[in-house]
Symmetry: C3
Subunit: 158 residues, 3 copies
Amino acid sequence: MTDILDLLTWDNPVFTAYVVAVAVTVLKVMGQGWMTVWRFQTTGRGLASPEDAAKGLLNLAPDPSQLEHDDYVDRSRRMHRNDLENIPAFWVAGLPFVLINPAPGLAWVLLYGFVAARAGHFWAYATAKSHEIRATFYTIGSLIVIWMAVQVLWVVLT
Amino acid sequence: MTDILDLLTWDNPVFTAYVVAVAVTVLKVMGQGWMTVWRFQTTGRGLASPEDAAKGLLNLAPDPSQLEHDDYVDRSRRMHRNDLENIPAFWVAGLPFVLINPAPGLAWVLLYGFVAARAGHFWAYATAKSHEIRATFYTIGSLIVIWMAVQVLWVVLT
Amino acid sequence: MTDILDLLTWDNPVFTAYVVAVAVTVLKVMGQGWMTVWRFQTTGRGLASPEDAAKGLLNLAPDPSQLEHDDYVDRSRRMHRNDLENIPAFWVAGLPFVLINPAPGLAWVLLYGFVAARAGHFWAYATAKSHEIRATFYTIGSLIVIWMAVQVLWVVLT
């Protein structure tokens, strides 16, 4: 097997692609938090804690109904939850995947394919596309993470 | 302290055990998502988004009641949430733990002990065993992660 | 660019600061789980699964009302969820950030600033301070993670 230390260099295009995919998906996850903020601030609905319905700079017209469930706001929280169910596993599976020295073409397809699949999932979820469309993007992303973990196990254990 | 670069090799059994534990728990987390899919597909209940209760290839007999809370489906989501509350912390604490060069026997017990504890937690939660049994597995896994983080801090700060 | 292997050493204060920040925030996330346990054990309220309201060593006076929503217990779960929406992204963005060899002073401010911001967020959320105070700590932590990811992309892609 290739020496791990030979792979930990910016000259390794697979390692660089991994770092780019990590940074982009980190921004995606953080952005999802801000999408939730945007949604409850602009609608004044779907707040999660009692103290958020008190008067303040972020809430000039407080009302107890602001604490009621709101699908528009909760949708962003569900998107966030789905991110957390998939993206951290990608982050942590990706590093040993890089270190088993996969074929660059395959690695490129899996790493950027995951980013693309999650972008598609974001689009389908945010615009409330059919369950079938959203599930397709979810499935692609999930299978990519599973592939990486299985290939890592295969290489390490055999 | 041992040079970090000397530890980043597939000849280091602690590093290899860490990678195996990561890959297995990644598959566990991804599998939990598919368990939720299985549960709402086979029961047609506990769907999370309004558009999921529309007619489509994944939903041939749509009904508004499909959006109601369902413990069988929600249980899988709660298992997933518990995973996310514990497993990513294990992933990220494990790497510096490997890099402080712990005793291999201890590392082996902690790394595979965590995997075993989470397997027990999965079994206890999926089959609705008593709170006491599930809490025992949760506690073992949690204490292992805490141990690793404390040992890392101890070695790095002293 | 500096060779990655030259940065992976305990003599690199930025790498060491990253490991310390990771270990401290790992303990914070694990501790949040125990805060939830503490809250539902001491109040006997806000339990999440039907079987938790059965008689047992952890529940000597079971009652169906123990499964009702309880803000005191749910608050700890919301704090945990907010952790999961922010801290794993910090963990994974921090490592490539260390590997692009940032200025030590900047790195120190960002890494420990994130830890401090999350400590403030914990305090504001646990004591139900105003939305404005909690949001300020959230914003600082979020912007730090975004900064790290953007700087990584900038250095790697240019």
